[in-house]
């Protein structure tokens, strides 16, 4: 019995050190074909994101950030290369299957929130669970719980049009979290928010990340990117740089290990 105990500690450590790839991309190519023109947007990307990481993707406008994120989110196909999500090769698949994958693994956050205008906060948050077949009572309870955690408990029955940008984005975050995804994909989540609110939203995302969920953020803002552990820079469809944010990595990496 006594020899068993240290061994177990080692296995946990090993798991931490060799932490698994949640997203792995090899030589990814993507072109958009419009009429007779073909626009080569992604020109052979290699990306490896570990489970529990918080990564930002930067690059100038038109560099292919959204394109990449759409592929990672199985909203779009790629032309060449390989994409593994949770070690499953994601290939061209039926829409039904793609929807099931999205529902299971991925939460989306958008710049323009993309809430459904005629549904109140709680209903918006609960919607992914509707498509998972969870009963109304259960999913509403869970939605309220999430709203409470994000400080929006009193706003549950408000329509999106009655809420501020920051509040809307927090509702979108709650919605992305409700199906307990492995990865959150956020395309410029702070793009429509002022600095103060942006920081608040990012704090929330860091907290989310601290529970073990991988977070990938596309952003234009350096200060936002600096709050993540790693920054991947795209330029003209290739990776320009890919480096770890040392000063911040300490603090948040700690959080991951505490709560895998």
């Amino acid at each position: 019995m006594q020899s068993f105990y240290p061994l177990e500690t080692i296995t946990i450590k090993e798991k931490v050190i060799m932490s698994q790839s949640i997203i792995r991309v090899n030589q990814l190519h993507k072109s958009y074909v419009t009429g007779s023109n073909s626009l080569h947007v992604l020109k052979g990307l290699d990306i490896d994101i570990k489970e529990g990481e918080m990564v930002s993707i930067m690059g100038s406008s038109g560099s292919g950030k959204s394109t990449l994120l759409n592929i990672l989110g199985i909203l779009d196909n790629y032309d060449q290369g390989e994409y593994y999500l949770n070690d499953i090769l994601i290939q061209k698949m039926s829409e039904r299957k793609a929807a099931a994958f999205r529902n299971k693994y991925i939460g989306f956050i958008f710049q323009s929130f993309n809430l459904i205008s005629f549904k109140n906060a709680m209903e918006n948050v609960a919607l992914p669970l509707y498509y998972k077949g969870v009963s109304r009572k259960k999913r509403n309870a869970k939605a309220l719980e999430l709203l409470d955690r994000l400080g929006l408990k009193d706003w549950w029955n408000h329509l999106p049009s009655e809420l501020s940008g920051g509040q809307k984005q927090r509702i979108a975050i709650a919605r992305s979290l409700i199906s307990e995804p492995k990865v959150i994909l956020a395309d410029e989540p702070t793009g429509a928010l002022d600095t103060q609110t942006s920081y608040e939203v990012l704090e929330i995302l860091k907290e989310v990340n601290s529970t073990g969920i991988t977070v990938i953020i596309v952003t234009h803002e350096n200060d936002i990117a600096n709050m993540t552990q790693r920054i991947i820079r795209l330029k003209d469809g290739i990776i320009e740089s890919n480096h770890t944010n040392v000063p911040l990595a300490d603090k948040s990496s700690h959080a991951i290990y505490v709560n895998p």
């Binding site: 039904r96 498509y131 199906s179």
Partner: protein
């Protein structure tokens, strides 16, 4: 399931006005269909009412003067049926006939008196079986029976209008009272109502008695047969054979249509029915055309709706809605709009028919002609059921193209920020 319905309603509520406008065209289509079908039914009922007092497969046989010379006999000879004709018909057509009655019609109206009351009425001698050929509703007493015939009884049955005419004291019971026909006393044994013509002033007495008292000897002015034929062709065959037999017996030229006449009710009934079947089909065609117009309307609006909701559908797909669930959403909305609207049209149509029917029934109490032309217009349960099936199908068809469009929406394009 409840969840799913709530989901549909929450999106429909979003476009209330549009849903109502769309539904209106469908409601209108169904409303028109019901009204048209109901009216057709009303006309048909009116027609059936005209045949109500006759056995539906009856042959009415009468005789006139011959038109052409035949077999050494001159034209213009009066053909008279006799009891022997009846006996032979009864024997030869035993297998084809349900009922036979010889008739002795007194020409013109005869004076009938009771106490100080007096009137001229139609009088006819008949056999008990006549009850099954010319249907009447007995009000009091009985019909003419076998004993009346055998014993040459002076029994008589009178229609209600005759009773009202002769028995001014409404308290007075006519049964057992003696009325005089041409001065001869007859005992009233029954009163009746002709359902076809409630104002008909008619008296029936035993055939044998009539022949004896009014110098009929063994003559029959007319004969009536109800056959057991179930098809027009069968009844027609019996008619032809009866005609052949009578033509031969009375030495009438085969092409002399005037001398011996036969009115085949089944044939005429079926002919009328055929006309109404035609009308009914025509009505269905028009109704369905109207509904198709409604479907196209719903379909159009749903397509616009789907276009407007591109973003919402994109969001739904991004968070895990399968194409099937999107198709289901759009189709359900379409079916719901059409079914609900159609149901309202159905209820409105049925309501109107019921109202008209009630009014007609009141009018009919005073004026029978109404009943004869147009009576009890109604769409029955089967029609309502068919309409319902049509509605749901219509909803599915109307929603199909928009639903396909919705399912084909690509989230990346839908969510693209302008």
């Amino acid at each position: 399931m409840i969840d799913y319905i709530q989901e549909i309603f929450s999106t429909l509520r979003q476009n209330k006005l549009r849903a109502i406008m769309t539904g209106f065209s469908v409601a209108w289509g169904i409303f028109m269909l019901i009204i048209l079908l109901g009216s057709g039914k009303g006309l048909e009922n009116g027609m059936e009412f005209n045949f109500r007092n006759t056995s539906k497969n009856a042959l009415w046989i009468w005789s006139r003067r011959t038109q052409v010379a035949h077999d050494g006999l001159k034209a213009g000879r009066r053909i008279n049926f006799t009891v022997a004709d009846g006996d032979i018909l009864k024997r030869k057509f035993e297998d084809d006939m349900d009922n036979f009655s010889g008739r002795f019609h007194l020409w013109g109206d005869y004076a009938v008196t009771y106490k100080n009351e007096y009137g001229d009425f139609r009088i006819e001698g008949i056999m008990p079986e006549f009850k099954k050929i010319q249907l009447v509703d007995m009000l009091q007493g009985r019909y003419i029976n076998e004993f009346d015939i055998k014993q040459f009884r002076k029994s008589i049955i009178i229609s209600e209008p005759v009773q009202k005419h002769l028995f001014k004291d409404e308290e007075e019971k006519p049964i057992g009272k003696y009325i005089r026909v041409n001065g001869v006393p007859f005992m009233v044994v029954g009163t009746f109502l002709d359902p076809e013509d409630k104002d008909k002033k008619q008296l029936y007495m035993p055939l044998t008695t009539t022949q004896r008292i009014f110098n009929g000897n063994n003559r029959l002015t007319e004969m009536a047969i109800s056959t057991n034929a179930t098809t027009v062709a069968e009844n027609k065959r019996i008619e032809d054979e009866v005609r052949d037999l009578l033509i031969e017996r009375h030495r009438v030229a085969p092409d002399d249509k005037q001398a011996i006449g036969i009115w085949n009710t089944l044939e005429n009934f079926k002919q009328a029915q055929g006309v109404f079947a035609g009308i009914r089909m025509f009505v269905w065609v028009i109704g369905i055309m109207t509904i198709i117009a409604g479907i196209v309307g719903v379909s159009n609006i749903m397509i616009i709706l789907v276009k407007e909701r591109t973003k919402e559908i994109g969001i739904r797909k991004a968070i895990g809605a399968s194409p099937f669930s999107i198709i289901r959403l759009v189709l359900s909305e379409s079916v719901l709009i059409t079914a609900l609207a159609g149901l309202m049209g159905l209820i409105a149509g049925m309501g109107l028919l019921a109202g008209v029917s009630a009014i007609l029934q009141q009018v009919a109490v005073e004026n029978q002609d109404v009943q004869r032309a147009f009576f009890n217009p109604s769409a029955d349960f089967n029609v309502a059921l068919s309409a319902l099936v049509i509605l749901v199908t219509a909803g599915l068809i109307a929603g199909y193209i928009p639903a396909r469009k919705a399912a084909a929406i690509r989230p990346i394009e839908a969510l693209h920020d302008e």
